[in-house]
Symmetry: C2
Subunit: 358 residues, 2 copies
């Protein structure tokens, strides 16, 4: 089908070793004349080195695995894009794996990726169970976690300061005069949900507002989860004038449900989300939310992974990025102001001067 190094060697009347040396830019010097002969043969035969063979021999495949729960969840595509951009620039390819947060799938992908000799992998949002992560660590496969980093696993991670984000969002609502603020959070087992809940309590505590347990309800990190949570709040008959949601999908689901129940937004209920997915600005009213720099998180994770692959085997580091409160109209604040450091559609290029937090 496609020419091999052997045929090139024959055509150029040199040994395969020589061909290898010129096409793979080995340090071994080869004279100008033969180099040109080889190059001519390469051109003539349209030779393309076989990367599988090379990978086998050199024990480096220039491939990484990207494990996400579900690429069609709008939180992940920008992360994936950030990863792919950096990976591509470094000559690595990205293998996409969807796990639905299922432990079995996570595990099977993990062994699959090992059998494929990937150079490293990125876990966007691991499930709660972590025993397979330890295995990963034992096998010295370079890896970076994104968005969740369970305690006790010694793996690099790129995170966002969820607690602080939720605190700032809650403080914003308090500043607007709200006292009865409901919190509809994600599943209580995952760390970001816990951290955001903690941030919410921090803010209430700081303002001397009583934290009413009736105002807190857990749910799935999806639109239906938000709708269901609102249903639960109303069923409890508890009074509230604002909601802070575990993420934007929940916020959007909550807004729909509130409207269906005849509440006006934001007059009757103010709503704040988390993530700043692309559509947060497009719903009506535009959603006030805590922005995570998803593209940048992907890019940073990939850069860190490149370090690790390159042998930088320093102690695992956690990179904690600062979230950004983006005030739009759903919280009832008059101003529509969007800080321009926040990820926008075009924000693909990493700006070097941006500080990366702690």
């Amino acid at each position: 089908m496609t020419a091999t190094i052997r045929e090139v060697a024959a055509s150029a009347r040199v040994s395969v070793a020589t061909v290898s040396r010129v096409v793979s830019g080995s340090p071994h010097r080869v004279s100008e004349g033969t180099r040109n002969r080889v190059l001519a043969a390469v051109e003539r035969l349209q030779y393309q080195p076989n990367l599988v063979a090379r990978g086998l021999k050199k024990r480096v495949t220039h491939t990484i695995g990207l494990i996400v729960p579900d690429i069609s969840n709008p939180f992940f595509p920008a992360i994936a894009r950030g990863i792919e951009d950096v990976a591509n620039r470094a000559g690595l390819a990205v293998l996409l794996c969807n796990t639905d947060e299922d432990l079995g799938k996570e595990r099977s992908y993990l062994t699959l990726l090992r059998k494929r000799m990937v150079d490293g992998l990125i876990f966007a949002t691991v499930g709660a169970n972590t025993e397979h992560l330890r295995m990963l660590r034992r096998q010295h496969i370079p890896a970076v976690l994104i968005a969740r980093a369970p305690d006790g696993v010694e793996i690099d991670a790129v995170l966002v300061d969820n607690r602080r984000g939720a605190r700032e969002a809650t403080e914003h609502l308090l500043r607007l005069g709200h006292q009865r603020i409901a919190f509809i959070g994600g599943p209580a087992t995952v760390s970001p949900a816990k951290e955001r809940h903690a941030g919410y309590r921090d803010a209430l505590g700081g303002a001397g507002v009583r934290a009413d347990p009736l105002l807190v309800v857990d749910g799935a990190f999806r639109a239906e989860g938000g709708a269901a949570a609102v249903g639960e709040l109303l069923r409890r008959g508890v009074r509230f004038t604002a909601i802070i949601a575990g993420n934007d999908l929940m916020a959007i689901g909550a807004m729909e449900e509130l409207r269906r129940r005849g509440r006006r937004l934001p007059e009757d209920v103010a709503v704040v989300g988390f993530d700043d997915i692309m559509f947060a600005s497009l719903v009506e009213p535009p959603l006030t939310t805590v922005a995570q720099p998803t593209y940048r998180m992907g890019a940073l994770a990939m850069e860190r992974l490149l370090d690790l692959i390159g042998g930088g085997s320093r102690a695992p580091r956690r990179l904690v990025l600062d979230p950004q409160l983006v005030v739009r109209r759903s919280c009832g604040a008059g101003i529509e102001r969007r800080p321009d450091v926040v990820r926008s559609n075009g924000d693909r290029i990493m700006k070097a001067e941006e500080t990366a937090g702690t």
Copy 2:
């Protein structure tokens, strides 16, 4: 690092050939006793066959390439998920490539994938230029196109009947009494944009309504494109009571711009989109749109690719799916009715009884 077949052979006191035969389930029979010895050694050493070596030897990598313009464009994640689900079930892994519709990147990914010996590839939305697609065909690499299939390239494709979808959308608006219907389409060079425009004209012609060229404006397939197009329409001072947009992102951008200009939706202007991305139902008013079964398109493309890889080298086929008009409130029709055959979030499993169109 990890055990090789050689070590297993030594540990089981058999030859590597025998180990290979038992772990790769070769047809060659091996006695119960030795099989067990081998299996025990495999277990003992935690042996995992090296897929790179196997790929090199068998000339099959169980990997496909997925080429998309931008995974963070909300049209693609569901497609990718459909592909990955089917691929994973068949034991193949998916390499993700973002091209930004840049011809250079498309080309370089193409040669990269070939060097990596992928078993096949899926092109979601090729750019306008097609010369590199011919190359692909020449090299007999199994491939399937999604959503766009330029004329003259003999490659399998999974498409949607854009013309019909746009016609039905326009007819719906006509039925609601609109006569001045603007069309804000995608870039005039890409086939779906052209087809949708044709469908729009079909409907007008069928109803005996004059097609006013002033009502047609092209733009980019993005929210800003829609906003800009609305700006252009207003600048022209042309009267219109409805807009049909090239895709949902444009429709959403158009809606935002209309509102900013003080138009009420849908009372002053009715809007219809195309695609039914996840957020079409979440904007306000919920967007009437022509649904493309994206998850299913991905799944079908992957199934077709599996056929091709399996040697089904029949003449290239084009699978044309029927789009579905989803009526919500943005068109001003009172009813909110969503046909349940349409892709919803949970619609991951392909329903066999669904007809696939022509």
